[in-house]
Symmetry: C2
Subunit: 291 residues, 2 copies
């Protein structure tokens, strides 16, 4: 197309796409460009604003490493990561939430009822429940990957003072589908704000805080993998998570307990815990894979 104008350029782009192009690629790229062009037209985007956007992307490239990906962080604080999670979450079962950048492979196995708190300072919490199918049947052999911050809001891997795999574990359910562990109460923390994402947050009057949360990945044969987070109902940032990860069904009370009556009799956790603690009940419901 020769006579490109603001009105015809979008069709010109579409016409450029080759006949042999994968249909899904054609669809996604076309939609992307339609939205980019509409954005520019609807805002009458100036050269200065265009340059500013390109500068933020260039700065994101400069600050990114395999361990700290500023493009993922942009996706997080703009809500894109969360929307993609929700779009791809099954309608049934426990809602998914954002994976975040702090998951690592290789965390040690912890038996049901085991302790992940160890020497960590902070409030003791006991987290437990069941892993079931959407029909209510317990799932045996479901594997939970668990990770969280220490009391200072940092993950092992971010914090030189924490041992490797601190507050990270892998737990496999038995025939009853039950999981249970003691740990420390995680803390709210800020997403990194020393790069262009921080600049965007400041320019739009936003804080970088996330409510405290426990991360989980639940995997079981025959079921869709679930990546999710569990939040305490009294966290001050619950209604303003910087990365839009909170879902109503993922918010749980941290119930204060002074007695251990409701800890299961058949596990050593009952003998181990003798002081006050907070109880967090959360059940995972996994959606079966489509046949």
């Amino acid at each position: 197309m020769r006579t490109v104008t603001t009105d015809t350029i979008t069709q010109a782009f579409i016409d450029y796409i080759g006949a042999e192009t994968d249909e899904r690629v054609r669809f996604v790229v076309t939609k992307l460009v339609e939205h980019i062009h509409d954005f520019a037209r609807e805002t009458n985007l100036t050269h200065d604003e265009w340059r500013k956007g390109l500068e933020l992307l260039y700065a994101a490239g400069e600050i990114s490493t395999p361990e700290r990906n500023e493009f993922v962080l942009f996706s997080d604080v703009l809500g894109l990561s969360s929307i993609v999670d929700m779009i791809n979450s099954p309608d049934t079962g426990t809602p998914s939430s954002v994976l975040g950048p702090f998951h690592v492979l290789g965390a040690p196995d912890l038996p049901v009822g085991g302790d992940m708190k160890r020497d960590n300072d902070g409030d003791l919490i006991v987290v437990g429940g069941t892993v079931t199918s959407t029909d209510g049947k317990p799932i045996e052999g479901a594997v939970l990957e668990i990770w969280q911050t220490a009391d200072n809001g940092l993950y092992s891997g971010q914090d030189e003072d924490q041992p490797e795999y601190n507050l990270r574990a892998r737990m496999t359910t038995g025939a009853d589908g039950r999981y249970l562990f003691s740990t420390v109460r995680p803390a709210p923390y800020t997403v990194p704000e020393d790069g262009p994402v921080g600049e965007l947050l400041r320019a739009t009057g936003r804080h970088p805080w996330r409510p405290s949360h426990l991360h989980f990945i639940a995997v079981a044969e025959g079921y869709r993998q679930l990546v999710t987070e569990v939040f305490p109902s009294d966290d001050q940032y619950l209604d303003e998570d910087a990365v839009f990860g909170v879902r109503e069904k993922l918010v749980m009370d941290y119930e204060e307990r002074t007695r251990t009556d409701d800890l299961p009799d058949d596990l050593e956790i009952k003998d181990r815990i003798d002081g006050p603690y907070y109880k967090v009940d959360f059940d995972f419901v996994l959606a079966p894979l489509e046949a």
Copy 2:
């Protein structure tokens, strides 16, 4: 907002924007996020597609340098650079076109009628016309920055075999608003395709070619700066410029001449040229600055 869903997340983002935020920033960022969210919702974007997009951005960061900015190149091949140019171009006067990454400051002065071809191989062309205001009056003291590729499709700065400032010049008009210079016919060339932009072009069945062109920046006191390009009407890539720079009014015939009758009598160019050449007539019309 606590109960974030695919339907409510866009409003949640908007509600996060601080009350003190600059109104233009609020408007542009809101529009950006509305389009990003709509894009994800309308495509049911998968995690794999989301990851692929983030990988392309990360790769763009890795390959970018101050001299080779892959984000600008993405903007170019997606048509964003061109649409921003057109949005910000005045309705009157010569249309603008993309600046591109190859302009450098400091090109030597060349008098009206001077030669920029020097020792460059290739077809001789003579480019000339007037710089006038939209009311038709010649503009005295208008400065044209001129740059172009050599016959091999490379700019000086890209090509070690070319001297510094080869095929780059700065020409100032006299009272008649006239400009004129001899040079070599520029060649079509490809945008860099060794990075993620190349991957996108291949995935969508697109070639990386630009039609050959002469670059100009026209500056005159009291007028809007004009950044533009002039294309030959017989270029094979005219209808499929990889960066959407072609405008109908910027396409000119390269007219073959065997006689020098229509070269001006008052300039030494008439004595200098004795063989066949191509004549390119192009007039610049500058829009006055708003009062």
